[in-house]
């Protein structure tokens, strides 16, 4: 219990090593719950996809896959900058941490911006399920169902990104105040895991939503 109260190792841990492993396992466990949550949505999506293949393809064809592809590229880049931020944190390079974190937010912001354009477009074309939906199709209801999944899944994903912005912004402030050191950078590393997870979700969403009609 040497560094019992030095602020870096919390009181419940014996040493920094134990703290690090524990925080790591905690984050992975959290991500597993996230997998289950998105997993349930994907399962429901898959169920209807097999039930209504025709409608799913039709719905997919109304989506702009170029915008989707662009956003995929943007997100992958943001994963890269996030990884660089973690790397910088490991070596306690304060300036680099801040720069890469801000880049990550900017790229994420571009993604959200494109998403807003896409959502607005759906409004204009009456592709928002519920009160603003009409397509000319024998499977209008089922296409509407596709769009329900589109909005719920991409919406939940976007919500995760917005939460990510908040966390990363906090990290920027912490880095600015010089809170990180070679011994203590777990918050950056954990946020990195979270961010990569959010990206991976999109890597699945993109083909499932945008590409299925274009085989």
């Amino acid at each position: 219990m040497s560094n019992f109260h030095d602020g870096v190792v919390a009181h419940q841990f014996d040493d920094a090593e134990q703290q690090k492993e524990t925080v790591n396992l905690g984050m992975w466990s959290f991500l597993i719950t996230e997998v289950m949550m998105f997993g349930a949505l994907f399962a429901a999506y898959g169920f209807y996809r097999f039930k209504y293949p025709q409608a799913w393809i039709e719905g997919s064809n109304y989506l702009d896959y170029l915008l989707g592809a662009f956003n995929t590229a943007v997100l992958i880049c943001s994963s890269l900058t996030m990884a660089m931020a973690v790397h910088a944190a490991q070596h306690a390079k304060r300036k680099q941490i801040i720069v890469f974190l801000i880049l990550t937010i900017i790229l994420g912001g571009v993604f959200i911006g494109v998403k807003v354009v896409e959502y607005a477009d759906k409004f204009e074309h009456h592709l928002v399920p519920g009160h603003n939906f009409s397509v000319d199709s024998p499977f209008a209801n089922q296409v509407e169902l596709f769009y329900s999944f589109y909005f719920i899944m991409t919406g939940l994903h976007a919500l995760h990104m917005l939460i990510g912005f908040g966390i990363i912004a906090t990290l920027v402030v912490m880095a600015y105040r010089n809170r990180f050191s070679e011994a203590y950078y777990a918050p950056v590393e954990m946020t990195g895991l979270y961010w990569h997870f959010v990206d991976i979700v999109w890597i699945f969403l993109f083909p499932f939503l945008y590409l299925i009609g274009r085989g």
Binding site: A10, H11, Q18, T22, L25, F30, I32, A40, P129, L145
Partner: protein, 544 residues
């Protein structure tokens, strides 16, 4: 599982976690797992009383065949709120959030859980979810049943389903956070020498419970969120008129909610192992079988959800598979019961109150589990599905099993938590009253259910009245039985005899520290050198 503690049983000063601060803020901002356990104890006790009041109204209504006390609509709201409150706000958090919180760190020789702030957050999340549920009552209640079946819940119900859904959604996160904390703590915070197979079985049970919380809860959270979105935005995921499939909801719901029934019973099983070892003064027979059966229950529990859907549109082949898997999930439960019985065999059993509850658990859980097999049998279930037979089945397990375990735990660890002994004679008397009241309440329900009384109706044919009268009479006795502990436990806080560190002469790290424990539990990290429940060696911390 005692230790070669270089430690100090008393920190001399007399300071403990209860006296570490007195203001309201010292409680509401605490990160001490023991104080958070007390916060949970207070909250869930409140919910237990509320859920109980709904039950009282239900039982009074059912006294007569006519619907004379409340209207059909109000009756729907009563059983819905009763189920919701009891399941999501009492049983799911009960043993884990109170005794798991309090004991896991101490039992494994740690100063706290891995994430104390997350632990506090979980209580706040729980409280917010609870406030939503109060709001639901103010908004006129909800009538979908605790199961939220679509399309009734998503399309037709005119009651506060949205508010309820959000409340349950939020509360789900408190159990995710608790489960996450436990898993990580058990993996990473064990004292030196405390290997997995030296852990108390209480810890194994909580480990398995936490896995279910982590894997199952997010699924029910998202399903209930879908119901909410469907109501608010008029989308049709579960609405057949719009191409949706209401049965999909049942699949998603039971994917969590069958495992969730094990969230409710596994911790009780963990308590059982502690009680039986202590009051038979023996190591649990087949320790590793009991430990692994908890994991087996957690895993198999995820594969049987279809037994709630034999009469839905689920295919007959799926039904057969689920039926067989359901039979299999009973095996690990039976392994436990047989091992406990074998532990008692030849043990020097003493009949203190916690052990009375252990006996109660064994008998009632066995009846509940065996009738579960009746229900799991595809053919028979078509006859008894949605009857009082099912109601009796799960009350035998959840009230007869889980709450008996909860009360056993409450009596066993009460002296540890508050440093006071309760009056044994009163406690024993109330355990007997509860046992009698319980059986009188629920056994008739097996019979009336088998005869065809459907669940969730408040008007019924005259010939069923005798069963309902018996049941209501039993419920009155049960209520008295539950009222006793409230009185004598509170009394004991002021007047009870002071408890030493180890009033039961039990094994286990929690009995080596003072009662009540100090804020950081141990002055010196203990080193564990022996198996759990090694009653062949002298007991530590005994003060007679």
């Amino acid at each position: 599982m005692s230790t070669t503690v270089e430690a100090s049983h008393h920190s001399g000063t007399g300071e403990n976690y209860l006296t570490a601060g007195y203001g309201l803020k010292s409680w509401l901002m605490t990160t001490d797992h023991k104080r958070i356990a007390i916060l949970y104890l207070l909250s869930i006790s409140l919910f237990f009383v509320i859920g109980g009041l709904f039950a009282v109204l239900i039982r009074i209504e059912l006294l007569t065949p006519a619907g004379d006390l409340v209207s059909a609509d109000s009756y729907n709201k009563l059983f819905t709120l009763h189920g919701l409150v009891m399941i999501f706000f009492f049983l799911v958090p009960s043993i884990p959030a109170v005794f798991g919180n309090f004991l896991i760190p101490i039992m494994i020789g740690a100063r706290d859980l891995a994430f104390p702030k997350v632990n506090l957050a979980s209580w706040y999340v729980f409280t917010i979810g609870g406030l939503f549920t109060f709001a639901v009552v103010l908004a006129g209640g909800v009538d979908t049943g605790w199961t939220f079946y679509t399309p009734y819940s998503s399309t037709y119900s005119k009651t506060a389903v949205g508010l309820t859904a959000i409340g349950v959604f939020i509360t789900g996160f408190s159990s995710i956070l608790t489960g996450l904390n436990f898993v990580v703590t058990i993996h990473k915070m064990r004292a030196p020498g405390l290997t997995w197979f030296r852990l108390p079985l209480f810890i194994w049970a909580h480990y398995a419970t936490s896995l279910i919380m982590l894997l199952g809860t997010p699924v029910v959270a998202i399903s209930i969120l879908l119901v909410f979105l469907e109501r608010v935005f008029g989308i049709g995921i579960f609405d057949p008129a719009l191409g949706g499939d209401p049965v999909l909801f049942q699949h998603l719901f039971w994917f969590y909610s069958h495992p969730a029934v094990y969230i409710m019973i596994l911790p009780s099983m963990g308590v059982m192992s502690e009680l039986i070892a202590c009051f038979c003064r023996k190591r649990i027979f087949g320790y590793s079988f009991v430990a692994f059966s908890s994991l087996a229950i957690a895993v198999l529990g995820f594969l049987v959800w279809g037994h709630h859907m034999f009469t839905s549109s689920q295919s007959i082949y799926a039904g057969m598979v689920f039926s067989i898997l359901t039979m299999m999930v009973a095996i690990p439960s039976a392994v436990k019961v047989f091992n406990w019985a074998a532990t008692m065999y030849g043990g020097s059993i003493s009949y203190e109150t916690p052990m009375m509850y252990a006996f109660g658990f064994l008998g009632l859980f066995t009846i509940g589990g065996l009738t579960g097999l009746f229900l799991g049998a595809l053919g028979l279930d078509v006859h008894v599905h949605d009857t009082y037979f099912v109601v009796a089945h799960f009350h035998y397990i959840m009230v007869g099993g889980a709450i008996m375990g909860y009360l056993g735990a409450l009596h066993f660890w009460w002296p540890k938590m508050f440093g006071r002994l309760y009056p044994e004679a009163w406690a024993k008397l109330s355990s007997i009253v509860i046992f009698i009241g319980f059986n009188l309440t629920f056994f008739p329900q097996f019979l009336v259910g088998y005869l065809g009384m459907p669940r969730r109706y408040h008007v019924y044919p005259d010939e069923f009245q005798i069963f309902h009268v018996l049941s209501t009479a039993g419920a009155s006795i049960l209520a008295i039985g539950y009222a006793f502990p409230v009185v004598y436990l509170i009394w004991s806080l002021v007047r009870g005899e002071k408890a030493g560190p180890n009033p039961w002469n039990a094994k286990g790290l929690e009995w080596t520290v003072p009662s009540p424990p100090t804020t950081f539990n141990f002055d010196e990290t203990p080193v564990v050198t022996e198996e759990a429940y090694d009653y062949s060696r002298p007991v530590e911390g005994k003060v007679v």
